[in-house]
Structures are given as C-alpha cells and as structure tokens.
C-alpha cells in the first residue's frame, strides 16, 4: 500500500468520533482527447482548453456532455459563455472553465465579422481499459 492516505469522512457524535477510511487516489488519469472543428466557421481556435473529467463522475462511472454557447469578440476572446445544455450538473462546471480558458485567432485588420454565437459541446466518455494496461 502506498502512503497516500487520507481520512475522507468523519462523523462525530457526543464526543465519540468514528472514522471511515479511504485512500486518496492521485494516479495520473489517462485521457484521450478528440477535437472536431467547425469547417464552416471563419473563426480559428488558437487555444482549446480541455476540461478535466469530474472525479466524482469518473469514480461513479457516469458519462455525459455539456454544451456551452458563447460569443467571440474581435480579439478572439470568449464572451458571455453560458451553459446551453448539460446532461448532469457535474459536467457544466469543467466545461465552463475550459471555454473560459479557450480563445480564437483575432480578426485581421479590415476583416469584419459580426459577433456570431458559437457553441461547443464537450462529451465526457469512459472507455474500458484492459487490466494489464493499468497494472
């Protein structure tokens, strides 16, 4: 057993404490990332931040998705992001965080595009792994 010990939950009643013990799992999680770009858009992503898979969802084997809609200003910055749809609230937060950290190429001088609403969908999936790969 490694030393990565953590006491996770404590219930105290009338001066007596009862402990539940669990280990914190600091393993680096393997994540596969696929990005489908929109070929019909004139705006080119420069930074595409990847959301973190929510640990609770991963632990409980929950998959889902969240769609965030936003505007892109002339400097390529994301403006007014909002959650358009989320299959589970745990996916909305990391998706919003990722979109806020993302950006697009700024408009070139003379280039004039209206602020078009864009949407990005993050799908959170879990793929089975052969046990030998993990050990």
């Amino acid at each position: 057993m490694s030393n990565r010990l953590a006491i996770l939950l404590i219930a105290i009643c009338s001066g007596l404490a009862t402990l539940d013990v669990a280990l914190s799992d600091n393993d680096t999680r393997v994540t596969r990332i696929t990005h489908f770009e929109d070929s019909s858009s004139d705006r080119i992503p420069t930074v595409t931040a990847v959301p973190q898979y929510p640990e609770k969802a991963r632990r409980d084997r929950i998959e889902g998705e969240a769609t965030i809609c936003y505007l892109i200003d002339s400097r390529g910055r994301i403006k007014r992001p909002s959650v358009r749809q989320s299959s589970h609230k745990m996916f909305a937060k990391p998706s919003m965080k990722a979109i806020r950290q993302s950006s697009y190429e700024p408009l070139r001088p003379g280039q004039n595009l209206s602020q078009v609403k864009s949407c990005r969908t993050y799908r959170f999936l879990l793929n089975p792994v052969a046990i030998e790969e993990v050990e």
Partner: protein, 171 residues
C-alpha cells in the same frame, strides 16, 4: 445515622451543589465518559495513527455499552489501516461486524482492506451491504470507485465538438 448513609448523603449533596453552581453560571460541561476513546479518535483524526491506536486500545478495555465498544472497534480498524497493519485492521473490523453486521463504516473499512489485499469479491459483498444500510455514504462510493478501478478500469475520453448542430443554429 450510620456512617455509610452519611457518606452517601454528603456525596449526593456535593453533586447537587455542583449542579446548581453550574446552572447559575450557565455552563454545562459534559465530560467524555471514556477519555481514552475520545482522545484516541482525535489523534486518529489528526493523522497521528499510532498514538490514536494506543489510546483507542486503552479505551476499548474500559468501553461501556454497545455504542462505545463499536466506536472503539471501528476506530481500531481504521487506525490500523492508517498504519498499514492490514491483519490487525481486519481482526478489529471482523470483531466489529460480528457485534453488528449492519455497521456501514465497518463494512466500508473492511471493503477497503479487501481492495488493498486484492480480495475483490469480498470487497464487493461488504460494499453492497454497506450501501444498503447507507446508500448516500460518500466513503462507500470512494471505495467502490477504487474497487472498480481494479476490476473494471477505464480511461477518460473527452470529445470537443465545435460542429454546428441544427439546434444551435435555431437559437
């Protein structure tokens, strides 16, 4: 009045006096009945597992009633897991669950021992019973996740999809 009776009277009177005095000052202090058990738990909570186990062992010797005994056994199981003595931890978890097989913390802690020992079927059984007793317990979910990571490992796969959907265009 015989001497024992007088003694008894004095003792009762003293207790009453203390009680009145306490209520006048609006202070009610309920001392722990089993200080070793309480301090042992505090040491365990502070991460001082060895001291916590020592104190809890002393507390177990003088434990009164089912609740104190179960708390001591449960904390000993947890404490021994913390110091990586899984054999002793299992002994105390087994003692606890022999006293009360519906003790979900005992089930949680024993399941963790079984996960660490790669005895996954036994861990699954304890988790199932623990979750029947307390379906919302977070630690049971954590240990269940650890078990699944051993028996059904997964890797996360995140797809970022910028393609315009008809619904998005309609908005």
């Amino acid at each position: 009045m015989s001497r024992p009776a007088a003694f008894a009277f004095v003792l009762i009177a003293t207790i009453l006096l203390v009680s009145i005095s306490s209520s006048e000052e609006s202070k009610v202090v309920i001392g722990p009945r089993n200080p070793d058990l309480t301090e042992g738990a505090q040491e365990l909570l502070a991460g001082n597992a060895e001291t916590g186990v020592k104190l809890t062992l002393r507390g177990l010797v003088v434990a009164q009633g089912k609740r104190e005994k179960e708390a001591a056994l449960s904390n000993l199981c947890a404490g021994y897991i913390m110091i990586n003595d899984l054999d002793s931890a299992l002994t105390y978890c087994n003692m606890l669950l022999a006293e009360n097989d519906q003790h979900w913390r005992g089930r949680n802690n024993r399941a963790l021992i079984y996960v660490l020992r790669a005895e996954y079927d036994k861990a699954e059984e304890d988790l199932a019973i623990g979750q029947e007793v307390n379906p919302n317990a977070r630690t049971l979910k954590v240990v269940k996740g650890m078990l699944l990571d051993k028996t059904h490992p997964v890797e996360s796969n995140i797809i970022i999809d910028d393609r315009r959907s008809r619904k998005a265009d309609e908005e």
